[in-house]
């Protein structure tokens, strides 16, 4: 069994922050692995994080078919805020469409930003889903 990677303190504190927010919030590590989303996000995704577990972000997001509002075409990770925060290391904001596990189509408005430590090392991202 592979050893569990310890989470950076910044991710531990981000999770504690997210757990106390009523705003749906999702956290990835620096590799793009979804490591946590809060209870408020359950309603958007249709299931709890305990059920979802740690998953590479793209595999996880594929279950929700993120699509452009303009043409309803699939929105690749590099055009979604979390992908931009991860790969371009800058904040990003976008509106797009998803289909939850419960089959409900939802329009979401998303802000993502990268998390850097003291040594300018990227340790993960925070993504916030605003109510539409």
């Amino acid at each position: 069994m592979a050893a569990v990677r310890p989470k950076h303190l910044v991710l531990i504190l981000a999770r504690e922050f997210a757990e106390n927010l009523a705003t749906p919030t999702l956290i990835t590590d620096e590799r793009g692995v979804l490591v946590f989303y809060n209870e408020a996000a359950d309603a958007i995704f249709g299931r709890s994080f305990a059920e979802a577990g740690e998953t590479p972000l793209d595999d996880w997001a594929a279950q929700y078919s993120p699509r452009s509002l303009e043409d309803d075409q699939a929105l690749p990770l590099e055009r979604r805020p979390t992908g931009i925060a991860l790969h371009e290391r800058k904040p990003a904001h976008e509106r797009f469409r998803i289909t939850g596990i419960d089959g409900v189509v939802r329009e979401v408005e998303v802000t993502a930003f990268p998390l850097f430590t003291h040594q300018d090392e990227l340790v993960g991202t925070v993504t916030i889903f605003w109510r539409v």
Binding site: I12, R15, E16
Partner: protein, 281 residues
């Protein structure tokens, strides 16, 4: 590996007849390895007496590992004898800052109006290092550092030889990051450095009654320290960073409370005392 506690008081030196049994000097722990190499953890006021002894023993080279730069972990450095001997080399390790070097941050306490001399006037050979992100070797030991929950940039250390492991988290408030209940080790602040340690030295500044008034100050209650030791699977817990308002009798009561909370086989939690010596394993 041999450990000696030169200071275990938190926040402020606390000399006086009410603190003679546990001691009043602030954080400083000496680690001596089988080959005679010396590593010092933190530079609270306890480091002054340690310095005199190191010079007497003829130690000319040592490593000083700072968890952070709050005064109670740094204020003894200016009075550390080996710094004032040009035949001594000291490697000083500490947490990084995004804007200021470790040397520049430490030099603030070596300048007027806080101190008459400048760090440039220190005759010993000083080398400053930001702690690496990955474990590194210091003589026969492997040292790991990880950021832990405490205001400002603060690290805990794990020191490991082929025979024993010791985790040092003197200032730590894991409760502020949601505590340890229901958490897997990877989500616990400092979990990777404290996991399964033969000895865990951990902050226990407050009683359970006191802690609610000091949430966010960066320290733990004795109950949180015991829960943390259990969560990381430490074999033995040494409670540290005693609150300045706690006299010897109240510290006795805290130790009794810690043992009651731990309720496990083997060595129960112990409060650190100045002058205490521990051999590991």
């Amino acid at each position: 590996m041999r450990l000696k506690i030169w200071g275990c008081r938190g926040s402020l030196p606390t000399p006086g007849i009410e603190t003679v049994r546990y001691g009043g000097n602030t954080s400083c722990v000496e680690v001596t390895f089988d080959d005679g190499a010396v590593l010092v953890l933190d530079a609270g006021t306890g480091i002054r007496e340690l310095g005199a002894e190191l010079l007497q023993r003829g130690v000319r080279r040592l490593n000083l590992l700072l968890t952070h730069l709050h005064l109670d972990h740094l204020e003894g450095l200016r009075f550390f004898g080996p710094l004032w001997d040009d035949g001594v080399s000291v490697d000083i390790w500490g947490p990084s800052s995004p804007v200021t070097s470790l040397r520049d941050r430490i030099s603030r306490s070596f300048s007027p109006p806080l101190f008459p001399l400048d760090l440039r006037e220190v005759p010993a050979g000083l080398t400053f290092h930001d702690v690496p992100g990955a474990p590194w070797r210091l003589g026969s030991a492997t040292v790991s550092a990880a950021l832990v929950v405490h205001p400002g940039s603060t690290v805990g250390y794990r020191i490991e030889t082929s025979e024993a492991s010791f985790a040092y988290l003197p200032d730590h408030e894991p409760a502020l990051a949601g505590g340890v209940a229901g958490k897997t080790l990877d989500w616990i602040s400092g979990g990777a450095i404290a996991e399964g340690a033969d000895l865990l030295l951990h902050d226990s500044q407050y009683s359970e009654d006191e802690y609610p008034r000091f949430v966010g100050w960066g320290h733990s209650s004795v109950a949180d320290a015991v829960a943390y030791a259990d969560a990381v699977g430490a074999r033995r817990l040494l409670l540290f960073h005693h609150e300045p308002r706690h006299d010897d009798d109240s510290l006795d009561r805290l130790e009794a409370r810690a043992r009651e909370l731990a309720a496990r086989d083997g060595d129960g939690p112990t409060l650190a005392r100045e002058g205490m010596v521990l051999e590991l394993p």
